[in-house]
Assembly symmetry: C2
Homo-oligomer: 389 residues x 2
C-alpha cells in the first residue's frame, strides 16, 4: 500500500470503508476480536504485542531477530529520541525506520508518561509541558503540537498525542483537569499536518474515575481518530480497579477502530484484556525482566538465577520453539545470569519476546477458530498455577 493513498485515508478522509483497520473475526462469548491494521510499513495482525524500543533499539535484539520472532510492529518513544539523539537528526538521516534498521511499522509514544515518570521539575499547563531532561537537566518545553511534529520528524507509522498522566491517587479535581487538558491537546494535535500515511491515535485518561474516563472517551471518539489508546492504567491502582476501568473504557470505544491499552502487562493480563476487546499492547516486562533473569514460560514464570537450575538440563520452556529454548539448558542460562554475561540478557529477551508474540498468535488463531473462551480459560489456568518444574 502506498504511503500517499494511505495518508489520504488517515488524515483527510478519515476511515472510509476499507480504512486502515478491519475486524475480520469476533468471538461470540467475549469481546475478543481478530483484526488487521494497515500502516505505511506493513500490516499488523491484531491482537498484537509491540516490543519496546524506547531509544530506537529493542534492548539486546537486532532487527533481523525481530523479524524472525514475528514482530509486526514495535514501539519507540518520542520523548527519549527527542533528547537523544534528537528527532531532527533522525529526520536528516532518513527517519527512524532507516536509522534503526527496522522496516516494519513503528508506533511512538508521545512522552506524556515519560514526563510524568522520569522528568524532574515538570510543570504542566494548558500550553504544554515544561520539564528538565532526565539526562542532563536541560530545561525543555513542549506543546502538544511540538510532540506531533517530533513524531512527524521520526516518520513513524502511528503517532500518539501528548497526554497528561496523573497517578492512581490523584484527587478528582486534578484528574479532571488532566483529562480535560489531554482532550484539548488531542484536538490541537489533529490540526498539525502530518505526513501522508501516518495515523494518529487519541488517548483516554481519567485516572481511577470511571465516569470521567467514559466522558473523556465519548468526547475523544467525537474527534474521530483512526485509533484509540487507553492510558494511565497500571500506574499504582489496585488490580481489580485496573480490570474494571479497562473493561468499562473499552466499551466506550468504537468497535471499528483499533484499541490500544498502553503499558501492560503480564501474559495473563494480555489474555484478559484481549477478552475485553483490546487489540494492541506494549510493555517493558518481557525485555526488562529478561535482563533480570526472569523468563516467561507456558507454565508460569521462571527465575533463572535460582540455585535449583544449576544442573537443570531442561530448556527454559519445553513447549517453546525459540532459538534459546531449542539451543540452551536452564543450567547454561543460569550460568550466564550469575556471571552477568550480556548473552544471558540477550537469550532471555529473545525467549520472552518469542513467548509474548507466540501468545498473540495463539490468541489470533483461537479467535479466528471461535475457540477463544475455552482456549483462554485453559491458558490462564496453566499460566497462573505457579512456577514450572
Amino acid at each position: 500500500m502506498s504511503p500517499v493513498a494511505h495518508g489520504a485515508a488517515a488524515r483527510h478522509q478519515p476511515h472510509p470503508v476499507g480504512g486502515p483497520f478491519e475486524v475480520i473475526a469476533t468471538d461470540d462469548t467475549t469481546g475478543a476480536r481478530r483484526g488487521r491494521l494497515r500502516t505505511a510499513h506493513g500490516v499488523v495482525n491484531t491482537p498484537m504485542f509491540m516490543p519496546v524500543a524506547t531509544q530506537g533499539t529493542v534492548k539486546g535484539i537486532v532487527p533481523t531477530q525481530l523479524t524472525e520472532l514475528g514482530a509486526e510492529i514495535i514501539l519507540s518513544n518520542a520523548y527519549h529520541l527527542a533528547l537523544r539523539p534528537g528527532t531532527g537528526l533522525i529526520r536528516e538521516l532518513g527517519g527512524l525506520h532507516r536509522f534503526m534498521g527496522w522496516n516494519g511499522p513503528i508506533l511512538t509514544d508521545s512522552g506524556g508518561y515519560q514526563v510524568f515518570s522520569l522528568a524532574a521539575l515538570r510543570k504542566v499547563t494548558d500550553s504544554g509541558v515544561e520539564f528538565r531532561s532526565h539526562i542532563d537537566g536541560a530545561p525543555m518545553f513542549l506543546t502538544p503540537e511540538d510532540v506531533v511534529r517530533l513524531q512527524v520528524d521520526l516518520g513513524v507509522d502511528i503517532i500518539m498525542v501528548l497526554d497528561e498522566c496523573v497517578g492512581a491517587n490523584a484527587a478528582r479535581a486534578d484528574a479532571e483537569r488532566a483529562a480535560r487538558r489531554t482532550l484539548e491537546w488531542a484536538r490541537r494535535s489533529q490540526q498539525v499536518t502530518t505526513t501522508p500515511g501516518q495515523l494518529m491515535f487519541g488517548i483516554v485518561q481519567g485516572s481511577t474515575y470511571q465516569d470521567l474516563r467514559l466522558c473523556q472517551a465519548g468526547e475523544l471518539v467525537a474527534l474521530d481518530f483512526p485509533g484509540y489508546a487507553v492510558g494511565g492504567l497500571s500506574v499504582g491502582e489496585d488490580r481489580a480497579m485496573t480490570m474494571t476501568l479497562a473493561a468499562e473504557t473499552v466499551a466506550a470505544l468504537p468497535a471499528e477502530r483499533p484499541r490500544y491499552l498502553m503499558g501492560v502487562g503480564f501474559p495473563e493480563d494480555l489474555i484478559r484484556f484481549v477478552g475485553m476487546g483490546y487489540d494492541l499492547f506494549d510493555c517493558v516486562l518481557p525485555t526488562r525482566n529478561a535482563r533480570n533473569g526472569m523468563l516467561f514460560t507456558s507454565a508460569g514464570r521462571l527465575n533463572i538465577r535460582l540455585a535449583r537450575h544449576q544442573r537443570d538440563e531442561q530448556p527454559a520452556d519445553a513447549e517453546c520453539q525459540c532459538y534459546t529454548c531449542r539451543t540452551f539448558t536452564r543450567a547454561y542460562l543460569r550460568h550466564l545470569a550469575t556471571t552477568h554475561e550480556m548473552l544471558g540478557a540477550q537469550l532471555a529477551t529473545l525467549h520472552n519476546l518469542h513467548f509474548y508474540l507466540q501468545l498473540m498468535r495463539d490468541m489470533q488463531a483461537a479467535i479466528a477458530q471461535g475457540t477463544f473462551a475455552a482456549w483462554s480459560a485453559a491458558r490462564l489456568k496453566r499460566l497462573t498455577e505457579g512456577e514450572p518444574a
Copy 2:
C-alpha cells in the same frame, strides 16, 4: 573425523605423517604459512584468530552468529569455568560444546595467565598454584595435572598446559625458575590421560630473556607436543622487545607443528606475527574494545563515541560486508554507544570479529597465492595511516 581415530593420533601415536596439522602452503619471502589443523570438532584453517569466550560465551554473540562470522575455533578459559559454574558440572551436562551451544573446535587456556593477572594471594610452588578466587576469595590449589583434568572434564579440543607467567620486569632468577617449572609441568601434564581426540599444547615462557626462551623452546620440543604456544608476551615489555622475542622464539619451534602466539594483538600485529610463522592467535581486543566503542576498520581504528560521527551516514567501514556495516550508520552506532544500549556493544562486537576473521581469511588467501609480502605491506600501510575519514 571420529574422535577416537583422532585421539589415537594425538595421544598414543603422536604426529604420524597425516597428523593433526598440515602445512599446505608457505610464503617464499616471509615465514608465513597456510595450514590446516584437524580437531575432534572440525578443521581449523590457519592462520586463524580465536574469538575469546572466557566464561563460555563470546560476549554479546550467539553461536549461530559465530558460525555466520566464519569463526572456526574459539578460546575459553579453564580457570574461569572451574570457578563458575565448575568443570564437573559442565562434564555432567555433556561438556563445554553442548553447554554453550557451539559445536566447533574449542581451545581452553589453562589459567596460568589468569592466576597471574586476576587471583589474589597467589603462591606458586613446584607442586602447583595456590590462590584465592577472584570472585569470592575462596582458597584454591591446582596442580598441573588438575588443570589438564579440568580441560578433560570440559571436553575441549585443545588443552593448554599450566604455565607460570611472570611479568616483563621479572628478575633473571625468577624468570628462570618460572620457565623451568613450566617445562616440568608440561612434562607432568603429558602423563595425564586425556580423552581420545584431545590435543595438548605446550607453552614456551622465559620472560624477556631471549636465551632462556630458546632453551625452554628446545626442551619443550623434545617433549613432542602436537602444538606449541608462546606465552608471556605483551605483558608490559616494550613493543620492539615483543617483536624480537616473538620472531626468535618461533624459529625454535618445529615447522610441522602449529604455533600459537597467546593473547595478541592488534590487526597490524597479527599480520606481522603471521609473517614470522605463527598460526593461531587469541585476543580480547576485538570484543573488549567493541564494548568501549572502538571499531577496527580497514583504514585504522574508529572511536564511535566521538561527536564527529553524530550525523555520519557512512557505515563503520565502507569496505566491510558484516551485518553491522551493511545495516547501520555510524550515527546510529554512536547513538547506541552514547546511550549505553546493549545493542551498541553487540553490533560493534559483530563488526570487530568479522574484521579480525576476514583479515585472517585475507592472509590465508595471500599466502596461498604467494603474494603475502606485498599484500601485508599494503595492508599495514593502510591500517597504520590513522583514523578513517
